[in-house]
């Protein structure tokens, strides 16, 4: 009973956030002084277009009718959004939904691997550091993690690009798929895709050394817990203790951080995809900004925000499976 209530409420919160994001995008387009709408109309007029025609075109592109009163325009906009109509890109002359649908999988591909691998490495290395707390490995890796964590990942990305691609030629210098190969589930194509994604993923992993520090701290805390001492006295095997007792409990605080991290990575992907000329959502967002392609920018903004909101929802809803204490919000003590 209680669980369902709580989940429904959480779902309600997510719906509210999504609504707020979309409304905000509407407000930005419509209300901002020197607003995107006016800017677009001016742009078109400067190209010698008839003002009335320009206005119609903008209306079509942004899914906002500037002549309608705000409430009615808002309703139209929301209806369009719900129907999945994000408008028409000015620069690419394509529907925004299509552009995002084509580019989002690539970004997700890079992000999910980068997140997954860096999380995995962070946990393993952090656990090792905790186990040999104060030892050489611990001190060395701590310094390394701090160093890597303090260098912006795009600087690292450029360094990697210089050495791994331009100097030594291990990896392609840009792009997201091999040229001259028919897309499909063939090995040459798939290996080519991985080959292209390797450097962006690598640069994100190297920069995320801080995760291991978090894990280290958690693991050290768990190692001092009473239940660990009891488990040792009970004669449980080292494998059980390290996986079910130490790792399981130390990961708990990392889990939410992981999914929040996806949001940060989306932001980072804008720069990263630029560096590697990797045409994902981030690349299109930046290019749309240069081109003053407002519909595409807005669409990207809405989609990325929704992705983060959904990631957080997933984190919240699944946390209970990891930590029984969080199942339902009240303790069922009897």
């Amino acid at each position: 009973m209680v669980n369902i209530d709580w989940r429904l409420r959480r779902l309600g919160q997510t719906a509210f956030t999504a609504w707020a994001v979309i409304t905000l995008s509407f407000v930005i387009v419509r209300m901002m002084p020197g607003n995107p709408m006016g800017a677009m109309i001016q742009q078109l007029e400067r190209r010698g277009m008839d003002p009335v025609r320009a206005r119609q075109l903008v209306e079509l592109r942004l899914s906002i009718d500037p002549t309608k009163p705000i409430p009615a325009a808002y309703v139209d906009y929301m209806v369009n959004m719900v129907q999945g109509n994000l408008g028409q890109s000015v620069y690419y002359q394509e529907s925004v939904v299509d552009i995002i649908a084509q580019s989002l999988p690539w970004t997700l591909f890079v992000l999910s691997w980068a997140t997954f691998i860096s999380f995995f490495i962070g946990i393993s290395v952090g656990a090792l550091m905790a186990y040999w707390e104060g030892g050489k490995l611990d001190v060395g890796l701590t310094s390394w993690a701090i160093l890597m964590g303090s260098i912006p990942f795009y600087v690292l990305a450029i360094m990697l690009l210089i050495f791994m691609s331009y100097r030594w030629g291990f990896f392609p210098t840009g792009g997201k798929r091999p040229t001259g190969i028919e897309p499909g589930l063939t090995w040459p194509f798939i290996s080519g895709v991985i080959h292209h994604a390797a450097l962006p993923i690598l640069s994100m992993i190297v920069a995320s050394g801080v995760a291991s520090l978090g894990m280290r701290g958690n693991a050290i805390r768990v190692l001092g817990e009473d239940y660990l001492r009891v488990a040792r006295l009970r004669g449980l095997s080292d494998v059980t203790i390290s996986t079910q007792y130490v790792a399981r409990n130390a990961i708990l605080p990392m889990y939410t951080t992981l999914l929040i991290g996806i949001g940060e990575m989306f932001g980072g992907s804008i720069v990263l995809e630029q560096v590697f000329q990797y045409r994902g959502v981030g690349w299109y967002m930046l290019s749309a900004t240069y081109q003053r392609d407002y519909p595409l920018m807005m669409g990207g903004f809405v989609v990325i925000t929704l992705a983060v909101v959904i990631a957080l929802l997933i984190a919240d809803l699944t946390y209970g499976y990891l930590d029984p204490r969080a199942r339902g919000q009240e303790s069922e003590s009897y």
Partner: protein
């Protein structure tokens, strides 16, 4: 008289020890030097005995427990000889075992129950997994083992299926502790080492667990080592008691002998410092001084700096064990004279003891407050905490925890009210409501006739301000360590109230005031303490600072929430004396919270206060201490009385538990009628239907009231049908062949 080591060996040789400890030392290397936390200890644990080990915190008692399992945590270093005699096989040297042997020895032969049952289970795995993985790790048959586990759990009065399905956080503290005991017994060990197994629990639960332990010991043929700081607690269960002081045993002997005729001065003083219900208040004395630092244990007898009997010999020569007869061994040169020098029952002053508060250490009769104007008056106060609800809960009332449910209580000038009850009974909530820290959801709290929450909201008649009320009602917390800001010096902490409320004082005056207060509470030289940070103080000193801080506000009522339970046993009486002294000096009233009836009695009898007993948010009995303790009207008070450990073992063992259920009912869904009827041995039909009012007790104290039908002579209760199932009226009657409690 001195017996040599070999004599000692010989005396115990004809016994059958299951564990033998010789010259066992546990040390830690510290920057300040070698810290010996167990110092050349010899001990024989006899087969099938219950050995009680008593010591204050920092006496090495946990190290003793760890050493028995060769489980001293790094970087501690354990050396000496520990021999395990299984009885039907060869003796084993515990410290020379291979990894395999040690794994077998731990838990299969000797298992352990830790103090922190709250944190002894992996929070992300259910209880059943803990049992299964233990059985698997030791290659036991899991199915058979789980059968055994269920049996043990039900022997401990737990619903086995339900507990096994639960996660640790879903169980109450008492349930977790019992589940942990079951877990430690699942491999059928010979020896069970229990390190403060009940310290974090309520008295009633402690006592219940101890009576269960006696049954378990018989049924599973156990040897139990029971380690505690609470001497009266082991009196019930232990066959022999060993007293630890400064990392070695100072006395060892049969329980009766130790309790009635302790030979070591420390044991005698410890006994006298322990509040209990039987011995008279005049006899209770704190042990002066403090326990030694493990790096720097005094030469000779380690107790000599605190001992009234100490002479040159004690300073020079470490007293070996003296055989005091009847299996008793004492590490004291003057053990024969200790009984004269430190009499247990003597109100006259003895040299070197208790030089403060001599004339005030007496009982005061509880005055009749009839007609007096109360300082603080609570009428029908209710505090209901609503459980967190989703926005889908439109229908139906959300379940509420009725932490406080309809309590009337008046606190007068110079009054002391001690609230006792189990955890979760609402005593802290009631206390916070009284001093205006918790807003009641019903009823009123009046300060000298003004409703404090009306004043707070600006609806008062303007005669008193909220600031005035806030200042008049103060609080002293249970844990002084977290009640003081760690980043501020004592000077800042203590001057803050003066700055706020006494504008007329300049810096110098403030300093003078704080200094004199510090000196008054025994923190000398005050200049030294003035500039210290809280972490540079001991627990007792921190509590003193917290107390002074409250006192400097010149309050009229202080809520003291378990102010002594974080302190060592020997310091408690001292702290309570100080509280009482300050009360007289500052003319304040106390609302005291305690889970311990013995402490409650001490405070209430010395100040002429009252004891109030709370159960599930209701005040079930209130009255003068001698009435509540000696003539309890409510069956719940009688149960608390039973649960308070006594120093007279012979009398107590015969008694049978007066409660039918160990665990407190769910507070979100309290029982109908009288809330105690589910556990009450006297419950009848009418108790499940009608809620008893507050009746005046038929005693000569007018302030003695209780809420039980049994207090009314011609109540229909007496014609009602009993609901007590005679076959299982008390939870440990299965083992005891006691009779069912009679009705009058």
């Amino acid at each position: 008289m001195t017996v040599s080591e070999t004599d000692y060996e010989r005396t115990v040789a004809h016994s059958d020890p299951i564990l033998q400890m010789r010259d066992t030392t546990v040390s830690f290397d510290m920057e300040r030097g070698e810290s010996r936390v167990l110092d050349n200890v010899d001990m024989d644990i006899e087969r099938n005995e219950v050995l009680g080990v008593v010591g204050e915190s920092g006496s090495g008692k946990s190290m003793f427990a760890s050493a028995l399992l060769d489980a001293v945590v790094d970087p501690g270093y354990l050396r000496g000889d520990i021999t395990y005699n299984p009885g039907d096989g060869e003796s084993v040297d515990v410290l020379e075992m291979s990894k395999r042997e040690r794994k077998q020895y731990r838990w299969e032969e000797v298992s352990m129950v830790f103090q922190g049952a709250m944190s002894s289970f992996n929070p992300v795995r259910d209880i059943e997994t803990h049992f299964v993985e233990t059985l698997e790790a030791h290659d036991y048959d899991v199915r058979e083992g789980m059968q055994r586990a269920k049996q043990i759990l039900s022997d401990l009065y737990l619903d086995a299926e339900r507990v096994l399905d639960s996660y640790p956080h879903e169980l109450s503290g008492g349930m977790k502790q019992r589940a942990l005991i079951a877990l430690s017994l699942v491999l059928e060990p010979e020896v069970l080492v229990m390190d403060e197994p009940t310290a974090a629990l309520d008295l009633l639960m402690q006592r219940s667990i101890i009576s269960l332990l006696e049954n378990l010991k018989e049924r599973y043929d156990l040897t139990i080592v029971f380690i505690t700081h609470d001497l009266p607690l082991v009196a019930d269960i232990a066959d022999r008691v060993g007293v630890l002081y400064a990392f070695e045993f100072v006395e060892l002997g049969p329980t009766e002998e130790i309790l009635e005729d302790a030979a070591h001065p420390y044991t005698r003083m410890l006994l006298k410092s322990t509040p209990n219900l039987e011995s008279s208040i005049e006899n209770m004395r704190p042990v002066e001084g403090s326990a030694p630092d493990p790096v720097n244990v005094p030469e000779g007898c380690s107790f000599h700096p605190r001992c009234p009997l100490a002479d040159e010999e004690c300073i020079d020569v470490d007293p070996g064990p003296y055989d005091a007869g009847e299996g008793r061994f004492v590490h004291c040169h003057h053990w024969e004279h200790s009984a004269e020098e430190i009499p247990m029952e003597d109100a006259s002053e003895t040299a070197g003891l208790a030089d403060e508060g001599v004339e005030s250490r007496s009982t005061k009769p509880t005055p009749d407050h009839e007609g007096e104007e109360p300082v603080l008056s609570m009428q029908d106060v209710e505090v209901h905490f609503e459980k967190d609800t989703g926005f889908m809960d439109f229908f139906g009332d959300p379940p509420a925890v009725k932490a406080v449910d309809g309590i009337d209580l008046d606190i007068y000038e110079n009054d002391v009210v001690v609230l006792v009850g189990e955890s979760g009974c609402g005593k802290t909530t009631l206390g916070k409501t009284a001093v205006g820290l918790q807003r009641p959801t019903g009823g009123s709290v009046e300060y000298r006739g003004d409703d404090i929450w009306k004043v707070r909201d600006g609806d008062g008649d303007g005669s008193v301000s909220w600031g005035h009320i806030r200042r008049s009602l103060q609080i002293v917390h249970q844990d002084p360590g977290s009640a003081l800001n760690p980043h501020r010096r004592n000077s800042k902490i203590l001057e803050a109230p003066l700055k706020r409320w006494h504008d007329e004082l300049d810096g110098n005056d403030r300093r003078q005031r704080v200094m004199s207060m510090l000196e008054h509470v025994g923190m000398t030289p005050p200049e030294d303490y003035y500039e210290r940070y809280p972490h540079q103080l001991s627990g007792g000193e921190q509590q003193r600072v917290a107390l002074i801080r409250a006192m400097l506000m010149n309050p009229e009522v202080i809520l003291a929430d378990e102010p002594v339970s974080a302190l060592d046993v020997s310091l408690r009486v001292e702290m309570m004396d100080l509280l009482i002294e300050l009360q007289e000096m500052f003319d304040t009233s106390y609302l005291f919270i305690s889970h311990d009836l013995a402490n409650a009695r001490y405070i209430a009898e010395r100040t002429g206060g009252r004891i109030g007993v709370l159960y599930l948010g209701e005040l079930v009995e209130i009255g003068p201490p001698e009435q509540v303790i000696n003539n309890p009207q409510h069956p719940y008070t009688q149960a608390l009385r039973w649960a308070t450990p006594e120093l007279d073992p012979a009398e107590e063992r015969a008694e049978e538990s007066p409660i039918r259920e160990i665990d407190v009912p769910d507070p979100t869904n309290p029982p109908s009628g009288c809330r105690y009827h589910t556990r009450c041995p006297e419950a009848r039909e009418v108790c499940t239907e009608q809620t008893p009012e507050s009746y005046s007790a038929d005693t000569d104290a007018p302030s003695h009231r209780g809420t039980c039908f049994r207090m009314v002579d011609d109540h229909e209760y007496w014609h009602s049908e009993s609901i007590v199932d005679e076959s299982k009226d008390s939870f440990d009657s299965a083992a005891d062949t006691g009779t069912a409690p009679s009705d009058d």
